[in-house]
Amino acid sequence: GMLLVVLLVSNMLLTKEGVTSLPICPNGSANCQLSLGELFERAVKLSHYIHFLSSEIFNEFDERYAQGRGFITKAVNGCHTSSLTTPEDKEQAQQIHHKDLLNLVLGVLRSWNDPLIHLVSEVQRIKEAPDTILWKAVEIEEQNKRLLEGMEKIVGRVHSGEIGNEIYPRWEGLPSLQLADEDSRLFAFYNLLHCHRRDSHKIDNYLKLLKCRLIHDSNC
């Protein structure tokens, strides 16, 4: 009797899932393609979420470990992505070709793959690191990968198949995260989080700009 009920319920759940997945991919998985607008919609949501997490984790870290240490004054020009020339104001962002901007976004995302993986592992060694920081680091790392996948799709669509494999800046900061001196090590974390907050905001801003430009014809 119980088994039957369980089967019935699971069956119902399955049917429901089937139903909910229908509108997304009505023609089956083979030819199923999201429109560029939908892709951008998702990418923007994701980048928004990533930056939200990044801001949260930075603020949390700042409050807990950076108070009174004057990290901000040292955190100048210390990002591994600063070698990438990115638009720094609206005018520059509007002048750059959307393909170049997309490639920039891709580059920044890729350049963060490595450091985020290390961040997840190293952040657990911080003394009394709260769970909120830990899970945010994990979440950021995962979502960054998802966004990268999505961006590759978008870039593939926009570039009609070509995915630029340009060189992206390498992060050499792992040793700094493992420094024995606590102050230096904390600053290394601080700087990394600071840089990610900045870059994730850049990506989010560029994607919103691109979405308005490509999907809404600059009339959001």
Partner: protein, 807 residues
């Protein structure tokens, strides 16, 4: 005794300026006698001695050597000789070298002031050389010394000034008080005394400006930004502010590109100077002539300092969809500076609202949309709405937009429902109260005031009377019971209806004489009288009617007056009628209850003292007995059924009658006849059954309370007498019908004429005027020839048989 003077002593010789000099001495004892003092000097080693050239200038016991007697190079040998009558005495000689005795006076006019210099304050002291009468003394060269100390301290700090008469003192402590003196000397001789003290307070403010503070930086549209700073104290001098900034990754320091655009103490960075995702290190330097000071550095990433302007074009629109509650639609636009269309800046909105008189705002986060629909607003209230906005990630909320007001209209349906509910509740409440009081009071009242007495029967018209054509007699017979019964005689209502009609006709002959038009007006009044039944239960109305009854006798004697009253009364009756019929709706139930509960047993007790019987039936004896009462009670039961139909019929009649005021009497008669017929068909009314309808109830009412109840019974032409216990009077004539429902019977003139008439007359007189207001007594008919009627068989008219004859 007296002796020669003591030896004087030369105290001092001094030259102020190397050109003159003076010597002072101290006298010895004078020996008790007046003593003269003489100074003798010799120059160098010359033999010749001279006496003092001037004993006056330098004061007593002194000698002043002016320029001519002063030789700086010479050495003077000086002695003082004191001489009196007895002898003389000389001091020891003193050898004076002029250059060695030079000591100038102290410098004068010392003045101090503080002045700011590069980094600190300095003291500026000025003075003048010692004064001298001699102009040539100005050529003298003095050397000066200045000393100063903190006021509270003991040690002086002495400064050699040189030949200048002014001096700058540096490195003073601000806020301290200093004391300053100067002295001088010539190239030879001694230092002068110190000059008098001068004090000065070194002011605090005279210093380099304080550190300015950078208050905040703000970007209104994520394209440009402005920083503001708060100056510190300016150190008492005009101060310049310079904003310097460097950008992350660049060594170079730039100065603010635009101090003007954003107002004083601000720096505006235009688009070209604004970069995002880069940290600006900003400092402000304040500089005045005393020095400069730099603010703490301010680190700014423009990404995080975006605070937009408030949204604009806020509109509130009230939508009223059919069959749904109205709702509010808010729309707004992003601030004009913000470029949200390009996607560079994304704004989120929040709105807040409250009722105008409310205290707390309700805040709603709206997200990125620029419109919002609000349901569930309280109708009839005025709301205040404001909106502000914020960039999607960082930055801060804008100011609130200006307040917008919207009046939510009252929901009419809801309002109506409420009104109706209130009306319903109220009216039912009133009904309850009324019925309650009527049940309680009416029961008592009726039992007390209106004992049931069997009414006289109206049993058609005497055929003889008709045949003889004595209409006046007919009228007299009919007029008196032409009106609806009071509350206690409801069962007779229908009979009265018919009587009224007949009365109309009776009136015709009378008024034909000169007042036909008035007559016409009267008729409806009479006809309505049945509708006045409702008022039977109202004690006030009842009493009024009673008074009218009493006035009847007097009216009979003054027909003219009565006519006037008739004409006046025409209209008013309609009014009273309306009231009466309204009241009836409320009273209806009560009437039936009341009537049905009439206790028969009480009747005999209550009646006797108050009433008089008028019998229209010739030779009929009115007797009251229990049998009659019983019958009356039965009739009452029947009557209750009829009553329920009255409101409808009556109202209809009233309306129709109004329209037909001018119509002929006949047509009206027809109308009433129809009505009667209707009554008959509707129910088995007493009209159809002579036995049931032959009760007439007449009560005569005294001024204070209804007093008389008369019942006449006639069974199929057979007459019964009802005697009132205690006063066996017989009333044979209907004297009048008053108002709507009171039938006044006159005592049989032949039998007991004298006994009855005086009393009513007396009672009436005081009420004559009131009666005039009521004007209804006009119906009363004079029947002088009552005696004649005695002979006629029946004086009661059966309306059913009477009416058709007028067709």
């Amino acid at each position: 005794g007296q002796s020669y003077p003591g030896k004087p002593k030369i105290i001092r010789c001094r030259s102020l300026e190397k050109e003159t000099f003076s010597c002072w001495w101290k006298p010895g004892s004078d020996g008790g006698l007046p003593t003269n003092y003489t100074l003798f000097y010799s120059k160098d080693s010359e033999e010749k001695t001279y006496e003092c050239p001037d004993y006056q200038t330098s004061g007593p016991n002194s000698c002043y050597f002016d320029k001519n007697h002063t030789n700086p190079q010479a050495t003077y040998g000086i002695t003082i000789t004191a001489t009196n009558e007895i002898g003389s005495n000389s001091s020891d000689p003193q050898y004076v070298d002029v250059t060695s005795i030079v000591q100038p006076n102290a410098p004068v006019n010392l003045s101090l002031e503080t002045k700011p210099s590069a980094n600190t304050m300095y003291l500026w002291a000025k003075w003048s050389p010692p004064p001298s009468d001699d102009v040539s003394s100005n050529l003298l060269v003095y050397h000066y010394e200045l000393r100063l100390k903190r006021e509270e301290k003991e040690e002086w700090e002495t400064i050699s000034v040189g030949v200048q008469t002014q001096y700058k003192v540096l490195k003073l402590q601000a806020g301290m008080k200093y004391v300053v003196q100067v002295r001088c000397m010539l190239d030879v001789g001694e230092w002068s005394e110190w000059s008098s003290e001068r004090c000065i307070q070194i002011p605090n403010g005279e210093s380099p400006p304080e550190k300015p503070t950078i208050i905040k930086c703000r970007s209104p549209e994520k394209e440009t930004f402005t920083c503001w700073w708060k100056p510190g104290s300016d150190g008492g001098h005009p101060t310049n502010y310079t904003l310097l900034y460097s950008k992350e990754g660049e060594e170079q320091v730039y100065e603010c590109p635009d101090y003007r655009t954003a107002g004083p103490n601000s720096c505006y960075f235009d688009k070209k100077h604004t970069s995002f995702w880069t940290i600006y290190n900003i400092t402000v330097r304040a500089t005045n002539e005393m020095g400069s000071n730099v603010s703490d550095p301010h680190y700014v990433d423009v990404t995080y300092i975006v605070q937009p302007d408030p949204p604009v074009n806020v509109t509130l629109e009230l939508k009223k969809p059919i069959n749904r509650k109205p709702y509010l639609v808010l729309t707004w636009s992003p601030p004009p500076l913000a470029d949200v269309r390009s996607g560079w800046l994304t704004l989120e909105y929040e709105l807040r609202l409250k009722p105008e008189e409310g205290e707390e705002w309700e805040t709603i986060f709206v997200g990125q949309q620029t419109q919002y629909k609000m349901f569930s607003l309280n109708p009839g209230k005025k709301y205040i709405v404001q909106i502000h906005c914020k960039p999607d990630h960082h930055g801060s909320w804008s100011e609130w937009s200006s307040e917008k007001y919207i009046q939510i209209p009252t929901d009419f349906r809801v309002k109506d429902m409420i009104v109706w509910i209130v009306v319903g509740v109220l009216s039912s409440l009133i009904c309850l109260i009324m019925s309650w009081t009527m049940v309680l009071k009416g029961y008592r009242m009726i039992a007390f005031i209106l004992p049931p007495v069997p009414g006289p029967k109206i049993k058609g018209i005497d055929a003889h009377l008709l045949e003889t054509g004595k209409s006046e007699e007919l009228l007299s017979a009919l007029g008196c019971h032409g009106f609806p019964p009071t509350s206690d005689c409801e069962e007779l209502l229908i009979e009265y209806l018919e009587v009224e009609d007949s009365e109309d006709q009776q009136l015709v002959p009378r008024h034909d004489n000169g007042h036909p038009s008035k007559n016409a007006k009267m008729i409806p009044k009479e006809t309505d009288s049945d509708s006045g039944r409702g008022s039977c239960d109202s004690p006030s109305l009842l009493s009024e009617k009673c008074r009218e009854c009493h006035t009847l006798p007097s009216i009979l004697q003054t027909p003219d007056v009565r006519d006037v009253q008739e004409s006046k009364g025409g209209k008013r009756t309609w009014e009273t009628q309306c009231i009466a019929s309204e009241q009836k709706t409320f009273l209806f139930n009560n009437e039936s209850t009341k009537l049905s509960t009439w206790p028969a047993a009480q009747l005999p007790n209550n009646q006797p003292p108050m009433f008089a019987y008028h019998s229209t039936v010739d030779a009929q004896k009115i007797t009251l007995n229990t049998t009659n009462v019983n019958i009356a009670a039965v009739l009452v039961g029947n009557e209750e059924k009829h009553q329920s139909q009255y409101p409808v019929t009556e109202t209809a009649n009233n309306d129709v009658e109004k329209q037909r005021e001018v119509e002929s009497l006949h047509s009206k008669t027809d109308q009433t006849t129809v009505q009667v017929k209707q009554n008959r068909s509707n129910d088995k009314s007493p009209f159809l059954n002579p036995k049931l309808m032959d009760y007439v109830e007449v009560h005569k009412v005294r001024q204070d309370e209804p007093a008389v109840l008369l019942k006449h019974k006639e069974n199929s032409g057979k007459t019964e007498k009802y005697t009132v216990p205690g006063s066996s009077k017989e009333y044979t004539k209907v004297s009048t019908v008053v108002d709507h429902n009171i039938l006044v019977l006159m005592p049989d003139s032949c039998v007991q004429h004298a006994s009855v008439s005086p009393e009513p007359a007396m009672e009436t007189s005081p009420y004559l005027q009131q009666g005039q207001a009521e004007k209804n007594m006009s119906y009363c008919l004079t029947t002088p020839s009552e005696c004649r009627r005695e002979t006629s068989g029946s004086e009661y008219m059966d309306p059913s048989s009477f009416m058709p004859s007028f067709k």
